[in-house]
Structures are given as C-alpha cells and as structure tokens.
Symmetry: C2
C-alpha cells in the first residue's frame, strides 16, 4: 500500500503509448489508494499537474495484474503526455479539478438565455485549456445549435479568434480569402483562383487544411506540387514576394478551438448554422482577411441540401460579416456532382495543372468554376467592376499570367516539384456498352482511400468518364492507382464488392 | 503486413484489463491495415461483432512498439469484453457501425420539435444497445433539458420502463414506494418508513441503490444489517412473506438506461427537471409501484435549492404521474441540514436501529422525519384518513411493531447481522469552548470516504454534536472510525488540513 506521503497525491508518470487523440486520458491502478481517498472512479475528471503545466484528464482504471502499470505510477495517453511535456518517471500531482466556472454559462444557454461576448470568451478559453471533456463540449454545441442569434454568432466568432494566433498584413489594405462549405470530391478550385487573384495584384495569403475524412484536402494536393508546411515567417515572406501563398494552415494555430469543436461535431454528426459560420469566420478573421468569398454548393450529397437553407446560410454570413466589420460575399453554386476528374492528391494536382496550363483536355467544369469564383473575388476586392470580374479572370488564365504566378508561388514556397509517377494501376472496364447513368461519389472516395490516399500521394482514382458519356464494352471507366501492390490489391477487392460504382444503362 | 483475408476485417481479441466503465473502448495498433482501409481513426466508432453479439466501441490507437498488442489483435476494455462474452484469442469482426437512425430524432429535438412515444422508444433502445457514445448521450440530454413538456416526460418514462425488466405484484392492489431527491447525508428514513408501512399491512417492495458519490447509500447501510443482493425470486418471496423488503436494486435491471443517463449527467453536472422526473418514475413504475411518495428536501446544499423550484418540480411529478396512471405524492421537506448522526454504513445503521428500537438517545430528527413520511405513505395508500397518518405511524413505531417487522424482513432476507465492531477510532476534540455554529456536510462526507466508507462498512464519522450545542474545550465533537490503521491515518491528516469542519464560536 502506498505511503502516507501520498497526502500530496503524487505519482510517477508512465507513458502508455495509447493514442486517445485530443482528449487526455489517465490510467490508474485499481488498488491505488489515492483513487479511493479522493473518490476518483472510472470516467472521473482529474487534474494532473507537473510543474507549471496542468491538464484535465479522464480517468480509466487498470487492473493491477494487467501488467500495464507499476504501483505508485499513473499512465498517460499520448496527448496527455505531450501537453504536460513529461519525461518518464517525472512526478505529477493528481487532484480533483477546480470547478469550471464557464459551465454555468453553458447552463444558461441550455435554459435559453443569450450569452454575452465575455461569457463566450470564458467558455472558449476553458475549452482551449482542456478543461472541457468531450461530453461538456457536446453539451455546449447542442445548447447552441439553433439557439444563437446573429450577435451571439459574432461574439462566439470573436472569442474563437481571441484565443489563437492572429495574422496581420500591414502592407495590404484588402486581403482576400475564400472558403468552400461542404466539399465536393475533386473540387480543387483554390489553387486556380488564388493564382488568378495574385496575378491581378491582390493579396491572398491562403492557408488550407489537410483531409479529415476525404481522399485529399487542398493542402495534401498542393503538397504534391510544392512545400506546404511553412512556418509563419516563411508564409509572410512568400506573400510579401508574390502577393499570395498556398500553404498548410496547421502551423499557424488560427482559431485552435475550432478544431476541437469540429472534432466533436463530427462525432455527433451535428452541424448547425451558427457554429458553421463562427467556425469559418473565426479562421478567416484570425488569418487577417478583410474580404471573404464563401462558396456554398447546393446538392443532394453536398453539405447544404436545399436552395432555401443555402439562402438562409448566406444571410447569416452577410449579417455576421457586417457585425465583425469584414466583407463577406457568399455565393450559391451547383453541388450536384463532383468537379474535375481526379480523386486523390496527385490526380487532383494534375487537374489543377491542366487548367492552369490551358491544356485542351483540362476538366472544363473545374476551369469554369475556378474562373467564375475568381471573377467574384476580383469584383469583391474592387479590382473589377461588378459583372466584369469573370472576363478578367478568364483573361488572366488564358494569357498564362495565372500559371506564371502559380509557378512563382511554388518556387517561393520551396520549389515546384516534379509529379510522382504512378507505380501500380488497374483500370475498371465497362462490362457492357451503354451510357454512364450515375457515379457514386462516396464509394469513389472510399475506393481512393483504400488505395492509400491521402497519405500516399500517387494513390487514388482517375475518373475517365462523366455522367452522360457513351461507352463501349471494354472501355476504361476509371483508373485505380496505388503506391504499393498490397494497397492496390486491397482497393481492387473493394471494387469487386461494389460493382455499381459507375452505373451504366 | 496483414493478409488480404482481412477482407472480412477479422482480428483476434485481447483483453487489455482497462476499465473504461460503461463505454466500450477498443484498441488497435497504429500499423493495422484494417484501420487505414476502413478509415478508422482515433475516436472513430467501430462496430465489433462476435457471433450473435455486437457492440459499438470507441477506438483508441496504440503504438506498435508499446508492447500492448500483438499484430492481428484488437484490444478490448473490460466492459467491451464482457458485453461480447469473449474468450482470449476469439476472432471478432470490425466494421463501421450502421447508421443509428434514432439520432435523427435527437436532431429533431435540437430543432425544437416534440418527440413521440415511438421516437423516444427508438432513442432509448439504441442507448440500451450501446449504440450511443457518451457524446451522443450528452447531446440527447442537453437537447431535452428545459425542452420536454409533460407528455414528453411521460413518453420518455415509458420508453425507459419498456427497455428493462418490469416487476409485478399480482397479489397486491396497492404497492407503495418512496424516493428522496437530492440526498442529505445520513438521511436514512427508508428502513424506518418501510418497516412502519409493512407493519401497517402495506406492500412495499423497496429496492435501493448503493452509494454513487456519498459515504453510504441505503443499500450499503442495509447491508450492515442483512443480505441485500437478493435475486428477483428471493425478493418476491420476502415480499410475499413480510409484505416488504429492503434490497439492493442492482440485480433487477429496472430502467437500465436510467443508469447510463445518470452517469453522463453527472459528468456534465447537468440535471434537468424532465430528466429527473423520468428517471425516478421509470424506476418506480418498472418496480411495479402504484403509489409513490417523493421526498423533496429544499435547502442550500440540497439538490433543490429554492421553494419555488420545489413547487415546480412537485407539479411536474403530479402531472406525469397522472399521465402514467400512478398516484404520486410529492412532499417538500427541510433540506437545510443533515438528518441523524452517523455518516457511513455502520453509523447510519446504528441510527436506524436506535430509532426502530425506541432508544432514548435515538436521533430525534431522523425519527420525526421517518414518522412524518411514513404517515404520508399510510394516507396515500388509504390506510389512514388524511391527517391521521402520522399518529398511526408513531404508534406503530413506539409500540415496537415496526421493529418487529424490520427484524422479520431482515430474517427473511438472510438474517439480522450482528453489528461489526469499530476497530480504529479517533476523536476530534473541541479546541476551545463555545457553541457549534456550523457543520460542513460536504467535508464530513469527504472525511468519511477517506476513512473508507462505503466499501469499509465500519468506517466513517459519528457526529457527537449538532448545530447550537454548547461544548467545553476538550469535548469530543466527532468520532472518526476506520477498519485499518492506514485508512485512519489517511483520514486524520485530512482532518488536520481542514480544521473548520465543525465551526465553533
């Protein structure tokens, strides 16, 4: 039995190598005297302190004879270990966490009272500090869903901005940005419109995310072509030199609470308008943007399903933008089918290059969407008269100015990379003649992931047909690519199980 | 790398000896091909199937070199292992869980729509089947808080009843029951009023819970005196013989979802009226009760803080009772200080015995409260005229009839036990003369737990003074008891750190 010097509840820390993602978990033995004394049980929240640092962790209890923990030790999951910056055997202090005051504001919201900016600030600060478990966060998100007025969305946005890094671009008056709600597979307009905007002399310091659940995020795709994991100093110098960048946002710590909230929202499969707007706006404002284009694709498999909900969302964006003193230009677009041909980093990069280089076989839908959105950006920033943006954008593309600028951005970020070669490929052939009736985007995305995307860059799917195309028996419908034989075979067997990925009639 | 026979996503199960309480957790290696193929990541929900049984578990990822799991194996937390009834090395199948349909009803509630009985039924069934993670449950609870009308509370109650065991007492017309909201320490009226009610010829098959966070639950206290972990057959025969029982409810599986919801509610520190009423009523109705007394203590450290919220709660109980066709009699009582002297199983049992045996030094407040509530039960069941219940209850107590019945119940449950002896004790003496100004109940409860309650039966605190008593320097204020020297010392040092547990002036 442990000694009475456990008065101070000190235990030696053991790293147990379990990844519990963002939620800190601590492991204590079932015979641990401290547990009993303090009344800690499984799922209790405990505060663990090491020097200046402290975290709140959820407790799991380990059987003493499981061999996982020695007496007098406390186990910590990966994120807990990292947050406390521990080394093996370091002593930590374990206690009940101090009462988290802001939870009473969550309670107010549950009981239908509007929250002030300060109250949102307190909640967001506590979430950032790890004082909210996933259960608390779920409660907060649910309490806010359908319950935030425009002012509250603005307050929440500001609170999320305040708790992370903020970028400023002091040499630029207008800083443009773009965001797309509800990704369609392959909809890689960002590199195209950033190049056009920068070619037109606008400042567009675009940071993007890696894939969360899709076969490729913009950052994954750009990483095929150049370095994206730039630190802030490098981002600034690229933007200073070229007026724009196409970097990964992960280093910048913009609106860090947004990532935490999104993770729990995904687990709940809940998205609410207010949260969505706060999420997007907080990242854009933290990035220092003054003029923001919001692309809202509407369609049966897009995030926004109906025209009317798109209009409602558009309105909230405009009103919140006004509260926050930024120009927001939401545009409703067609989200009924994917854009482009490639699914997976390399193949989406190929589509982007084809458009920028004005190749004959460039996917026209991607080109047209990119030009249309770029045109709106030019108008929003005052670079074109209203109604004339698109023709200027097209001009900048067809003249090669956009391609020239894209190359320059990539060079500034570390060099334009040679495309990797596809190592293993397998074509899916049409079993009969007919025309392409439907393409199942979700299954295509799964297929691409099984083949290794996005971790493997030269993995995924090249679609060789579009809906409406006529095919003869034996024609190739798609090309499945992978970096290893094993992954190709794995994806192939999925393909065998799911023959109706591309439906013919 | 695992073979392509992982097409079927089969892995060997390993029991990892980690207690994650009620939420199933699965552990997979970070190099596991199935994870990647299926897109499983940390915190993903996975469905794990073994023969006929399946569960939904949350995924944690383990570093391959942590030595915790062999290749081709999946680790399962205690509850996951038990739910699947596994043996070491048994193969299980791992896949994405089917979409949980009832989550769309939770969404409806979030967007302010009333739910039907069927919809509550679907939600409760899915919770029972383990298809809701804690995050989903938190969302459901938050969505319902402050949002259920009386009909919905009744629907939810019925749904919770339907999903567990139901008891019936076919030989009895009137079956009485009692519940106390917001436990005050030491408020052990149940054994007293059950004995009185049964002595009056009423049927009162009382099951109680063990302590969750307090130094003793009714079941812990009763277990000092007799067996409480009776199976349903034994409970029936005791009730048939004596008209009542004082058993532990844990074997009966009444309203099992209630336990799941309560656990998450505690983690959220959220309690809402509708949920509370559904929780209590579901257990009572599942127990087959027809006439239910609800004791609502009101006070600054009770669960219900104000008279007006007590009145509101009273009303909801009455209305929901009416919907459900049971007689509910809520009574508002004084919750401003604890009742009785003992804190911890043995000492609370001593208080109960003292009252039942009509001892001179029996705690008067406990006796009076027990008699008052018993009187209301007698009136509610029609055994007394309104206004005359209390005098009949007092008569049954002072005549010894209640004590006689109590002994008979204990005998029927397995025998009336001899009280354990206190092994280690230490008195806290008054440091000065004065009168007792205040007693800190929460700290007393912590002290009792540090001394070992409720796991150690002969551990806890005997309060030797009450607020208002005059004491001389050196007089004993309380007696701290423990079953082992180590626990006594542990509790003593807490006492040293917290000198103002009993304030004198």
């Amino acid at each position: 039995m442990e000694e009475a010097n456990n008065q101070q509840n000190r235990l030696s820390a053991t790293r147990v190598g379990i990844d519990t993602y963002q939620e800190s978990v601590a492991y204590m033995r079932d015979d641990c005297l401290i547990c009993r004394a303090e009344g800690f049980g499984v799922q209790t929240r405990v505060e663990i302190r090491s020097g200046e640092r402290s975290i709140i962790a959820r407790l799991n209890v380990v059987e003493s004879d499981a061999g996982m923990l020695s007496p007098g030790h406390i186990g910590l999951s990966k994120v807990a270990w990292e947050r406390l910056a521990l080394t093996d055997g370091r002593e930590v202090n374990v206690s009940h966490p101090a009462w988290v005051n802001s939870l009473s504001y969550v309670r107010r919201k549950i009981f239908d009272q509007p929250l002030t900016r300060e109250q949102f600030g307190a909640i967001v600060l506590d979430i950032q500090a790890g004082r909210y478990t996933d259960v608390h966060i779920a409660s907060f998100l649910t309490a806010c869903a359908n319950r935030l007025d425009v002012d509250e969305v603005a307050h929440l946005t500001r609170a999320m901005v305040d708790v992370g890094t903020c970028l400023t671009w002091p040499d630029s008056g207008v800083v443009v940005d773009k965001h797309c709600i509800g990704g369609l597979p392959g909809n890689r307009t960002t590199p195209i419109l950033v190049s056009i905007a920068a070619a037109a002399g606008l400042t567009m310091p675009k940071t993007s995310s890696r894939s969360i659940t899709s076969p490729a995020g913009t950052a994954d795709t750009m990483e095929v072509l150049t370095r994206v994991d730039l630190d802030m100093d490098r981002i600034r110098s690229v933007v200073q030199q070229e007026g724009a960048c196409l970097a990964w946002g992960g280093n910048a710590s913009l609106s860090p609470v947004d990532d935490i909230l999104i993770r729990v929202e995904k687990a709940m499969d809940l998205d609410s308008e207010g949260q969505l707007v706060a999420s997007v706006m907080s990242k854009k404002i933290a990035a220092g943007s003054t003029h923001i284009l919001i692309d809202i694709p509407v369609g049966p498999t897009a995030k926004v399903r109906t025209r009317s909900s798109a209009e409602a969302l558009k309105k909230v964006f405009e009103q919140v933008g006004q509260c926050l003193g930024v120009v927001v230009c939401p545009v409703i677009t067609d989200g009924s089918q994917p854009i482009g041909r490639g699914i997976g980093p390399l193949f989406e990069a190929e589509d982007v290059l084809a458009v920028l280089q004005n190749q004959d076989d460039a996917p026209a839908d991607l080109r047209d969407r990119g030009v249309m959105l770029a045109g709106l950006i030019l108008e929003m920033a005052g670079r074109s008269e209203v109604g004339h943006g698109q023709s200027l954008a097209r001009e900048l593309l067809t003249s090669g100015a956009a391609w020239h600028k894209f190359k320059a951005i990539c060079e500034a970020q570390g060099g334009l990379r040679k495309l990797p070669r596809v190592r293993y490929r397998r074509r899916l052939e049409a079993p009969v003649s007919g025309s392409v009736k439907a393409i199942d985007n979700r299954k295509l995305a799964s297929l691409a992931k099984l083949a290794g995307a996005p971790n493997a860059k030269a993995a995924g799917v090249r679609l060789l047909v579009k809906v409406g195309d006529k095919v003869a028996k034996g024609n190739a419908l798609l090309e499945l690519c992978a970096e290893t034989k094993g992954e190709l075979r794995y994806a192939e067997s999925y393909l065998k199980q799911v023959p109706d990925m591309i439906q013919l009639q």
